[in-house]
Symmetry: C2
Subunit: 234 residues, 2 copies
DNA sequence: GATTGTGAAAGCGTTCACAGCC
DNA sequence: GGCTGTGAACGCTTTCACAATC
């Protein structure tokens, strides 16, 4: 209503789903769809309609009963809520295999997270250009962060260097970290951390595979408890 | 007690943490540590001791009161529970930027998930070698899967091709999918899916950054609700 | 008639706190 | 005395179900 002050605290589980809704709604909008019901959106997101409605209700009462949600308006509201009304340049620490792949991956910049810098400790890597950005030395991190007003750091170092990278990033003024290293990092309060660990994901799949194998020694498929994204329909 | 038949159903949240414990315990074991308390393990994992104990209790009563856990034994038990007593070869669908990076990333094979094959629809990519594996055509997927006994598929295609990739994988006999495409995929019941979406992770961080900015217009740090990995100590 | 928005109920996961055991 | 293992309490998330609204 009056003064859209973003005061409601949105549950973390909902925050994690808003980007999914945003992607679907943007895609449908580009396809010419102007209105969607919670049922349709749920179908695309692999969720149920009640969850979609509850999630969207945290943004405000932006739907129309009997009709659904205006796609364009909802896209705008979610973008606003997620802080996606401007770009967030990121700095990547570590210019190895992974750092280079991330820098070269357009999905970053395309979605509002341009690579504002890459740093590494390895002198042989400094000066090379990956994904259109010149690799600089870790010592110049604070300079890069300040110059470009960066608040998000991506850790793409080997595991043992991750803590050091995190500390350098925080010292440079970065307040959010996306950690790809297979190590738990330790940060001061007030710093956000998200972790992506490929081996962990595979090991979780392994658990359910193994369980499937021992539960149905020679039979067909068994339902997997928990880990589902969507029911049947395939 | 008798007959360690892996019958307990382990909560999904715990399954997701077991790989973290495993990595820490393995690393400590290599460093010569033979025993650890739940307190120590919690410290390394950025969790609290009660959670660690509850998680480990799902494996069985493998600790010793007044002493702690035998590191080597616990490593063995977690590996067994996660089905990591043998390798799980994976097949990657999509030999673009990301697929190539994944194939070249040693962290896969090192942790028991060797790349058993890579396929793509693009004829210009078929035949090239990435990460020591020759790229084959999507049409040969079933053959690759059967030949190597693969149960885990990695989707590294562009978003629009992900559903097709998932269907091809399932048709070929794969029962677990790790999806890197920015699309929700639809699978039959009984198939496990995990999703890794870099843009989603960044957008979640953006939410908390934005919130921080609007909450403390010109002040220092504010605590971030939810998203934390560890308290102070830095 | 259709679909939202939301209290209330149910289900999970985390934390507490302490009995049990070394 | 130290540390595990676990019921019980708590809090967060999901689901239900229906009144409100178009």
């Amino acid at each position: 209503m009056a003064g859209q002050r973003t005061r409601r605290r949105i549950p973390e589980a909902t925050v994690a789903r808003l980007p999914v809704y945003l992607r679907i709604l943007s895609e449908r909008f580009d396809a010419g769809v102007t209105s969607m019901s919670s049922d349709e959106l749920a179908e695309f997101a692999g969720l149920n309609a009640a969850k979609v409605r509850k999630d969207l209700s945290y943004l405000g009462s932006y739907g129309t009963r009997g009709v659904g949600y205006d796609v364009e308006f909802l896209v705008y509201q979610i973008r606003r809520e997620l802080g996606l009304t401007h770009d967030w340049p990121v700095v990547i620490v570590g210019a190895g295999n992974l750092g280079q792949a991330l820098a070269g991956y357009n999905g970053f910049g395309d979605r509002g997270f341009p690579v504002g810098g890459i740093v590494d400790v390895d002198a042989s890597k400094v000066g090379s250009v990956v994904g259109g950005v010149r690799v600089r030395h870790l010592d110049e991190l604070a300079q890069v962060v300040q110059a470009r007003g960066i608040s998000i750091g991506v850790i793409a170092t080997p595991g043992p260097a991750a803590q050091e990278a995190a500390e350098a990033l925080v010292a440079a003024g970065v307040t959010s970290l996306l950690n790809f290293a297979p190590t738990v990092i330790n940060v001061p309060p007030g710093i956000s951390v998200r972790k992506v660990d490929l081996a962990v994901e595979l090991q979780i799949l392994s658990y359910y595979e193994q369980r499937r194998a021992s539960a149905a020694p020679a039979a067909g498929l068994r339902a997997v408890p928990g880990e589902r994204r969507r029911g049947a329909t395939a």
